[in-house]
Structure formats: structure tokens, C-alpha cells
Point group: C2
Chain length 205, copies 2
């Protein structure tokens, strides 16, 4: 009996290195698939359509919203972002884990729809590390950076809704900790299939 | 700020290989200390006093019970077993993890006293594997083996009170899974110390 796939939601403040952690996880975990979000924003340098995001028009996006095709969607800095429902559901049913990288606002919305998800907050070791990372990325304007730093404390205050907090002071270490969380979550009583005939669905709640 | 030590309770049916899993964990995890139980039973071949158990007299044991020195104690097959409180408490305060290997009856009692413990059930892959392990150990009488097999299904039915279930179909694999659980549990929001000044004790519940 194959166990169902689990949904891992990776979130945290902008600039904390969520993307690098996720890339490492995807390279190392063969049973993990990235949930590719739809967005109406322009691709950043190096971003590929259908891999980093599905880049779609605002018109397409609003049609999808009307058709209830998103697990969550939001407008951030004037652009739309949405998590398609279908791929997540399909992965869970086929026993594949889903990795969903999303900002803290989106994670809150996902938590309402999918409280069964495992919510992991990637945290910077401290405030100044985050600031230098944001500036070092060189992809955002000064105005955007200041906006994001202000948002940072608000995002940190959302930590209590997460199951786990992983400090990204070192990429390899942070990715290894998330991998341990993935292995551990598959061992939860509710997710094991051993001697399954002895237990009802109610026992698993 | 150092985080507090966690209590990991390893349990499961007799003969499932809990001891081998624990020995491997203790060899690999430097921040993990075994909680050594008191017992009135005779040492088995190779067992060392103060390492495998503290072998004490029935009189000493009953004095300790009277002094409320045990987190739990029980009489099993005519012998007394008890988990001393003091070492567990000291480890938690000093940031050292405690590993407690105990039968399922004892684990239920520990759970009442220490619901903050992390309860891990070591399961055999199936019934027949357990039976051949019990017989292969050659340390128990036929009567004891039959008693334990009868007890097995009752023990398996206690699985829902555990946080995690790890199937011991392969010692290295099982130990690696428990180690992942240990790493993961330290990443729980309640156990992290990052940005701790922003949160109250109530947030950590």
C-alpha cells in the first residue's frame, strides 16, 4: 500500500533564500515535485516559463480565478500570483510530495484550504543578514527593498502558524534540515501504512 | 540562546529491535543521552550495570517508588522496571536530548506525565518477522515467546497514541528515519530560539 503524497509549504520573508533551498531539495529528493505558480509579472533574468512560473496574461489569470482553479491567489506589488489546485491534488493522490514555495501571505491562505499541509518557515539568522541579501540580489529597486524590509517584521510575526522554522544561515544545512522534516513527516502515524488494516480513518485524525 | 533538550520515547513490541535502533542512535548523535532504567530483574548476558540498566534490589526499588523518584514504573513478568525522573529533567534543562527506550505500557504512563515527549513506535514490517526475531534471540523460554506474541497485537493497537511510526525492516534505514525525526523536532516553532524576543511563551503552545 503506497502512502499518499504530502504537501510541503515553504515560506518566509522575501530575500531569505527560499528559492535556493527549494532548488536544492528538488535536486536531491526524487519524490518531490515543485508546484509551479501562475503569475502575470514579467520573467526575471534566467526564469523559465513552466519551470519557475507559468507566465500568463492578466486576462487568463482572471478567467482562472473565475473558474476556481487556484488554491490561493493574490496581488503583490501590482502583479497576480496563483497556485493551481489541480497539480497539487494529483500529486497527493499519486503518492508524490508537492513542494510549494510561497510568500507568508499566500501561506496563510493555503493553510485555510489545506490544513493538512506541512508549513515550513525559512528564517534569516537575524535582521541584518536579510537586509544584505536583499541588496546583494540587485534585482529590486531601492523603493522595493525598503518596502520589503518593513514587511519583514510583519512576516516574522507569522511564524507561530508554521509547523517548523528552519534558519537559513547555511544553504546545505538548511536544506538538510528540511529534508529531515520531509522524512520525519512520512513517519507520522497518520501517514504510515503499516498494519493499516487494524486502524480506521478516525484513528488517523 | 541554547534550546532546551527534547525527550524522545522509543517504544514498540518486544523483539522489534528497539535496542539495536537505540544503540545506533546513541553512537551517532552526540547530543543524545540514554535514560538508564532501574530494574530488579537479573542481567542478561552482556548487559552492564549503569549502562543497559541499573540493576537494583526489590527493596531499593520500592524505596524509590515511595520517594516518588520514578517518572513511571511497572511490574513486568514479575520484575520491576522504573524510569528515574532526575536524569530526564537535568538533560532537558541543560539542552541535552534524552532517549528513553521502554515497552508500550511504560510509554503510555510516560505520555501522561510528559505529553511534551516525542513518542516513536518501532514496528516490525509484519507479524511473521516479529515471531522469527523473538525466536532467533534465544534468550526467552517458549512460554515467554507465546505470551509476547499474544501481547503483540495489543501493543500494535496502541500505535495511534504515538507521534511517529518507524518500520524496522532494516536497522540502518530505521535509525536514519529516527535521526531525521530528531532533527525535524528541533526545527518545530515551539523549539526554535530564533527571533525569540518577538514571541511569548503562549505563542509557543
Amino acid at each position: 500500500m503506497k502512502s499518499k503524497g504530502l504537501l510541503f509549504v515553504i515560506s518566509g520573508p522575501s530575500g531569505v533564500g527560499k528559492g535556493s533551498v527549494c532548488a536544492k531539495l528538488l535536486a536531491e529528493e526524487s519524490n518531490l515535485r515543485l508546484s509551479v505558480s501562475d503569475t502575470t509579472r514579467a520573467p526575471r533574468e534566467g526564469e523559465k516559463n513552466g519551470i519557475d512560473y507559468s507566465f500568463i496574461t492578466k486576462e487568463q489569470f482572471l478567467t482562472n480565478v473565475k473558474n476556481d482553479a487556484y488554491l490561493e491567489w493574490a496581488e503583490v506589488y501590482g502583479n497576480f500570483y496563483g497556485t493551481p489546485k489541480e497539480a497539487v491534488e494529483r500529486n497527493i493522490q499519486t503518492g508524490t510530495d508537492t513542494l510549494l514555495e510561497i510568500d507568508t501571505q499566500g501561506a496563510s491562505l493555503i493553510k485555510e484550504k489545506r490544513p493538512d499541509g506541512i508549513f515550513i518557515f525559512i528564517a534569516p539568522p537575524d535582521y541584518s543578514t536579510l537586509e544584505s541579501r536583499l541588496r546583494g540580489r540587485n534585482t529590486d529597486s531601492e523603493e522595493t527593498i525598503l518596502k520589503r524590509l518593513k514587511q519583514f517584521e510583519e512576516e516574522i510575526r507569522r511564524m507561530p502558524m508554521y509547523d517548523y522554522v528552519v534558519v537559513n544561515d547555511d544553504l546545505d544545512g538548511a536544506a538538510a534540515k528540511v529534508r529531515a522534516i520531509i522524512v520525519g513527516e512520512h513517519q507520522r502515524f497518520a501517514n504510515t501504512t503499516v498494519f493499516a488494516d487494524l486502524f480506521s480513518e478516525d484513528d488517523k485524525l
